[in-house]
């Protein structure tokens, strides 16, 4: 109970700071919007081919990739904010209070999740006039997946930030992870259209299964094996991410 209350205090503070300086959130949204407007139309003529006949709506293939990308990249770089707080002495000031270490992390992660979900909703709304058609249930479940994915990457990002305590170490590390994850998850184009070896390689990336799951949800195949596997993987990732995050926060704060 006390932990929830503390999480709420930390969340409120973080949210207030994000709202005071919304530039960052806007910039993070501009990237998927550019993909939507400048890349999305290219997919229209080839949608039937790349979805292997599952749909003719390009945005049912493309938007799921974009919101997963948003969930991943939007949350991946939140560690930089934590390093700024660390340098200012805020983390230390937090740690000397009796507040639960989990709350110190959870409040910040919750803020990131809220920002991501709002960004995703904006992205979806903008996509409707572009031609996106998808069932409500599938979209809502997809937003839950984005939220979980955001929580995962945000906690991992905070852990790495707390351990390295340096932007110089964090930046190359995150970029090094982000690039292969992006290419192997089929965010831009489904991996199914690739050669066999690339498909096998991409099977290793849990994110590919998540993207496939969200695509199935957008087509309305809520009970399909793709969407169930996607949900399974995202829940597993969330458990791992939050555990690692919580452990780091507890350990690094003695």
């Amino acid at each position: 109970m006390r932990t929830l209350q503390e999480t709420w205090i930390v969340f409120n503070r973080a949210m207030r700071l994000s709202l005071r300086n919304p530039m960052w959130s806007i910039l993070m949204l501009s990237q998927p919007l550019m993909y939507l407007f400048l890349f999305g139309p290219l997919l229209k003529p080839i949608t039937a081919q790349i979805s292997q006949g599952a749909t003719t709506n390009a945005y049912q293939v493309f938007i799921p990739g974009l919101i997963v990308q948003l969930g991943m990249f939007g949350a991946m770089f939140v560690g930089f904010g934590l390093i700024a707080e660390y340098r200012a002495g805020v983390i230390e000031a937090d740690r000397v209070t009796p507040a639960s270490r989990i709350a110190l992390m959870a409040g910040r992660v919750l803020r990131d999740v809220v920002v991501l979900v709002v960004q995703s909703i904006l992205l979806l709304v903008v996509s409707i006039p572009m031609g996106l058609r998808a069932p409500w249930g599938g979209v809502l479940l997809s937003l839950v997946i984005v939220a979980l994915l955001g929580a995962t990457f945000a906690s991992l990002s905070y852990s790495v930030a707390l351990i390295t305590k340096s932007e110089d170490a964090l930046a190359p590390l995150l970029n090094g992870i982000a690039m292969p994850l992006l290419l192997l998850s089929g965010i831009l184009l489904p991996m199914q259209i690739g050669p066999k070896w690339l498909q096998r390689l991409s099977d290793i990336s849990p994110l590919k299964h998540v993207v496939n799951g969200v695509r199935a949800l957008f087509r309305g195949d809520i009970g399909s094996s793709s969407s169930l596997w996607g949900l399974f993987w995202v829940v597993l990732l969330t458990i791992v991410g939050l555990t690692v995050g919580a452990r780091t926060f507890r350990k690094e704060s003695a």
Binding site: I9, V90, E92, A93, R95, V96, T97, A99, A254
Partner: protein, 328 residues
């Protein structure tokens, strides 16, 4: 006892190998005391304080802080202490009052109480009208005082202050000293670090002198000064060529030590410097030596530090780089 520490040790791994920042510190702080940790940069002051404030774990040793065991019940310790770090505690972009209230609420203070206490402390610490200002718009001294409000907002019974007056102008320092004494009068115990001798002298009931991670002396400022062998006496001669003769007379005095001649000055240390002076002046006069001036100086804490460690507190070049301490 508010603090009881035994055998605290802390080692850090650095690129150059292991550094033992704190090498077995024992200390006691009684309820209601103001105790100062005096030592040069890198002596282990901050590291020891951070261990006592639950921010880093001791490599070995144990402590009871505010009645709670440091290892067994760190949350209990955190409930009872306030800590004002050296390096700030607020985000530049945040609003000063918001930072104070959020911090207080994490310490379990209600929002209403936090706002009332916070605004009162802003007035007391000379931060009027700054409640709704962004932290980065405050001056260095104002931010320092904001840190102090942050650390004290929940009215802790034990207060750790790490170099509280660094970066403050003389008036703000004097004001803060007053405030710290006021906190003690309200029943708080204060443990502070400082490398300012005048601060330790003016503020502390008791001083622990620390050097190279070890406590080398402790006592109240007067006791410590008495451990230094006597007062410093300086005789300035009119004629430098008479210095050897003057030095010879001084050497015959009972208890005179550290006799040094430098040009026309003869300096030495002797207990009760004031009372030997009349006799000394008569003998010097009888030898026909002419004096320009005489100076008797009570020992300072710097003399104490010099006697204990062989170095002046003012030489900073021997210090372990501060970033190693910060890396804790």
């Amino acid at each position: 006892m508010m603090i009881e520490a035994r055998g605290l040790v802390r080692t850090f791994k650095t690129k150059r190998g292991q550094v033992q920042a704190v090498q077995g510190v024992d200390l006691n702080v009684a309820d209601g005391e103001i105790v100062g940790f005096l030592g040069p940069n890198g002596a282990g002051k901050t590291t020891t304080m951070r261990m006592l404030a639950t921010l880093i774990k001791p490599t070995s040793g144990s402590a009871t802080v505010a009645g709670c065991d440091l290892a067994e019940d760190p949350v209990g310790v955190r409930r009872r202490i306030g800590y004002v770090p050296q390096s700030g505690s607020t985000l530049p972009e945040a609003i000063a009052g918001d930072e104070v209230v959020d911090h207080a609420r994490l310490c379990g203070v209600s929002k209403k109480q936090a706002i009332a206490d916070g605004q009162r402390m802003f007035d007391e610490l000379d931060l009027p009208g700054l409640w709704r200002r962004q932290c980065k718009t405050l001056s260095g001294g104002q931010r320092r005082r904001l840190d102090i409000v942050m650390g004290l907002i929940h009215d802790p019974k034990l207060i750790f202050l790490d170099e509280p007056t660094t970066g403050l102008d003389p008036q703000a320092r004097a004001n803060l000293w007053e405030h710290i004494r006021g906190l003690r009068e309200r029943g708080a115990t204060i443990f502070l670090t400082t490398h300012y001798l005048d601060e330790a002298d003016a503020l502390c009931d008791r001083i622990l002198v620390i050097d190279h991670g070890k406590i080398v002396a402790s006592g109240n400022p007067e006791e410590l000064k008495q451990q230094v062998s006597g007062d410093g006496v300086r005789l300035s001669l009119t004629d430098a060529s008479q210095a050897p003769a003057a030095s010879k007379i001084v050497a015959e005095l009972d208890g005179a030590v550290a006799i040094e001649t430098d040009g026309d000055v003869v300096a030495f240390r002797i207990p009760k410097g004031g009372s030997i002076l009349p006799g000394l002046l008569r003998s010097i006069d009888a030898q026909g030596i002419e004096l320009n001036g005489v100076e008797v100086r009570r020992p300072t804490l710097d003399d104490v530090f010099l006697t204990m460690t062989g170095r002046s507190l003012r030489d900073e070049d021997h210090a372990v780089p501060a970033d190693e301490e910060a890396a804790a």
